[in-house]
Symmetry: C2
Subunit: 620 residues, 2 copies
Amino acid sequence: MIDSVGPVVPTSGTLRPVPLTAARLTGGFWGRRQAVNSTDTLAHCFAWMRREGWAGNFTASPTERRGREFADSEIYKLTEALCWDSVRNDHTAEIAELAGLARSAQAPDGYLSTAYGRPGQPPRYHDLNFGHELYCAGHLLQAAAAAARTGASPELVDVARRAADHICTEFADGGNPGVCGHPEIEPGLVELYRVTGEERYLDQARRFVERRGHRSLPEHEFGWAYFQDDVPVRKAEVFRGHAVRALYLAMGAVDVAVETGDGELLSAVQRQFDRTLSRRTYLTGGMGSRHLDESFGDDFVLPADRSYVETCAGVATVMLAHRLLLATGETRYGDIVERVLFNVIATAVADDGRSFFYANTLHQRTPTVIVPTDRPQLRFGGGPRAPWFEVSCCLPNVGRLLASLETYLVTENDAGAQVHQYADLDVTAGGLGLEMRTYYPDEGSVTITVTDPGPAGSSSPARELTLRVPAWAAGATLTENGSTRPVHPGQVRVARRFTPGETLRLDLPVRPRWTFPDPRIDAVRGCVAVEAGPLVMCAESVDLETPSADLDSLAVDTSVAPEDGAVKGWFIPSADRPWPYGSEFESGPRSPRVVPLIPYHRWARRGPTTMRVWLPTTPP
Amino acid sequence: MIDSVGPVVPTSGTLRPVPLTAARLTGGFWGRRQAVNSTDTLAHCFAWMRREGWAGNFTASPTERRGREFADSEIYKLTEALCWDSVRNDHTAEIAELAGLARSAQAPDGYLSTAYGRPGQPPRYHDLNFGHELYCAGHLLQAAAAAARTGASPELVDVARRAADHICTEFADGGNPGVCGHPEIEPGLVELYRVTGEERYLDQARRFVERRGHRSLPEHEFGWAYFQDDVPVRKAEVFRGHAVRALYLAMGAVDVAVETGDGELLSAVQRQFDRTLSRRTYLTGGMGSRHLDESFGDDFVLPADRSYVETCAGVATVMLAHRLLLATGETRYGDIVERVLFNVIATAVADDGRSFFYANTLHQRTPTVIVPTDRPQLRFGGGPRAPWFEVSCCLPNVGRLLASLETYLVTENDAGAQVHQYADLDVTAGGLGLEMRTYYPDEGSVTITVTDPGPAGSSSPARELTLRVPAWAAGATLTENGSTRPVHPGQVRVARRFTPGETLRLDLPVRPRWTFPDPRIDAVRGCVAVEAGPLVMCAESVDLETPSADLDSLAVDTSVAPEDGAVKGWFIPSADRPWPYGSEFESGPRSPRVVPLIPYHRWARRGPTTMRVWLPTTPP
């Protein structure tokens, strides 16, 4: 097997992931966040999982089990995160404990769930819609892949193999013909196949992918689309239904496609992702607009207020786009990874790593509130950052992403290295040693020092260093050997022999710019947003002199270029009328106003506030 | 007791309801709908309630009960509707059967629920949040008030008294201190007080109203506002939480205020209703924008696509506004009654009275679908008109409204009659016999013939005939005695001795007009609607030559007055882009286009279609 230290190690594809052991975030925007993740978030998660009984479920009596039906999966997400982080920090004891918990609850035939199948519990697989057994198993398998690749826990790999063997037997052709209401087993099986070489797991993943879309799950209020059981994966045109479910399924389909050489299946997912980006994605890269069923809305239904944008959907978008990037090498996948990282992932988690948004609205109408920290929030589908929610998938999910973040930044192939994301990173990739330093995204300059140009000598091959130029970065330049030249959105490739210690500098124009929406997005018609480099900006009421409600009485002047940290506009008060519809609306006297802006990911960090990303341009 | 035949007969107030026995719809817009309700809808409801087991629950064994926890209430709503309709049609057998069902399930101490308290069922009142026992009882009491006033079923009155006595004992001060998660017992108790004179019922209603708002219900994901248990009724500023719950509670609060002379409580509800109309109501008069919890959104969050607008909330808005109209005589309450009747109630029900919308969106993005008619729809919170839903409160609720519709059209006081709504109606009110004829709302002319001017002779007092002039009706005229004069929005009062057979004619300008939204309603910024008289208009894709998606590529020209049945505009095609946000959007070549319009209440009656009420004005 070809394998490496990191999530997603396909046996084929255009690009290869760089092992976590060959890359190190040294600081900067992401280095700080990864450090907080290591030192605080993972421990915070473990503490809450103990406190809420989710860890204890593995050893508790069957009738004393606590939490929702998918609570086991949080344990596995945390385990996966700890395994990835073990390349930097010692988590031997925690990982051993967690692997031991998993083993202790595993049935003799390999079945593993704390919620079903034991005396006093509902039977196994009696509720495929919402039982989440295979979903949990999928996360177990991904955790085991992390354990295998990092060497952190042979025990967990063994538990996962036995669980996967059970699933392959139970859900074989001629056996249980079902699929799980929540996809995740599919990428889990492929990842376990990748680390074990067991073809049976890949076969079963393919089987689950193909089975879905035939309405085999019971009818439900949310419709079959909720579970992606409405249309087969190969035939669907767009992502639909529950956003995390849709994205996890797509991840599994890409994994199956790549491992089986199934170009049709890969194209199907690409087509769906393209259309989803074109019609069903927020400016932040966030996906899923509906609170009711945490799902994608119809095309162009992207309300800013009450936008759902579950943090987990952001994690899944990064994971899916990364898979497509590895498979195809197309830089546009790097663009969406960047957008989601800076505007969903960085937004979701508090600076101390100990509270988080479950949903990420683009417009907060009523001031955010401070939540009690002594109990989990019941209202998980929205609201302020909270230490824990009744459903707390998002924080451990971000945990495993940040713990393996280097994977998403740089790739390699036989020709050289590809830098997709800009960060303070030391990395060895494609035969090159690189030291990248930047204040990105606050500043647009990125220097890359070639610390190791590869084998020396006149017969050594030229190396390629490929840099992604973001789609928004018109006017970017590359400086090498003292000369500066324009580079265009897409990518720039430097192919030559490098000199030890030489430096290249990419300058990306991160000055603020106006961004207008597709006219078919009704929710933000007549509005404009400001972006600065990869950052979506927003206005917060805490920065206004006048009361918070005034955010709804501001209009901006797009004839003046936005400046760093502010745009020009007007304050136009609106008085209530008995009936808010009529033949005309007189507005009050407009007064000029400077509207301060901050990066969206910084919002809700300075006390109660309202917030808008989309700013009206047309005065009433 | 002062009593009358009809729902809501307060013992004090500015205006008095006209008995159903003194009014008759003879045809026209509402006469046809009431007739279909009588002949088809009520039977259709009863058939589905039998089929789904909701009727059978009253005699089934406790463990065989079917349907949701509030299914009993549908039986009571149907019973109430049949009682009101019994003033026109014979429903003796059905009412006797339904009253017998209720009696058969009543416990010796008066408790009545098919879902709780019997062997094999959960205990009584163990889940006040969602048990709905008092909610169901409230509907029983309202049905009993209908039975009492129409004389349709003394048996049902007896059952209701015993149920109410049980509740007064159980929830007395010093007893169970709770309130029900779903208000409705409050107006039910007051109505039963009105027909029985039993003060205890009024006291208990007042107690329930005062108890709410102190967070006595268990914490829930949706928050205490969902149950209106966040803020006491007297202190709240606006309706919030679950829309039907909020409106039913307000109905009960008005009833208590009127019967106890509590001006502060009445003012509190008026204040909340005013602010709700000003900030949280759709153009159609519909209330409740959120699917997740069927609730009011924040101020000005009124998305057109996926607007929820539960039909039951429309019914409740009419019932609440009617109560406030009776209490205060203010014509603005007649305005909202009219708006909701023509744009929510008339929209919800199919022409044959046998299918209905549960939710009433103002923007349908994907073509409506035909639903199977052989089983209830699981997805009750939206979608196309369906014969029945898993939760089917709306159709029997509309049934009881239409069966008592005359109540909402004309009132009386010692001085004369007040006509609030225009319809083909024969009525005796305020000492006057009136025959109203009109093609309203398709045409704006209403003739009222005085068939009985009251006592003759020079000593007989003058009579007042008061006509509501809708708020939108600038330019209205009144013609009497051959002369025509302008009348202004609000009301016009004619106070004199009338001549037998004389005719007055009110002419309301129903030509189409542009209607613009409050600039703070983000969802419809840059859009305009067309209204014609009381009717909200809409565009349907079935009326376009081009494919349905084109509704999203139309913009209208507000510099040209809207015409009957159409507005002028442009077709401006938008091509998909890989990313739907950018520095500018080029639109395709615009071509002039006539956009046909129909009344919103007629939409989705001609096969699969998309639809919009709000039409973009600003070409991309």
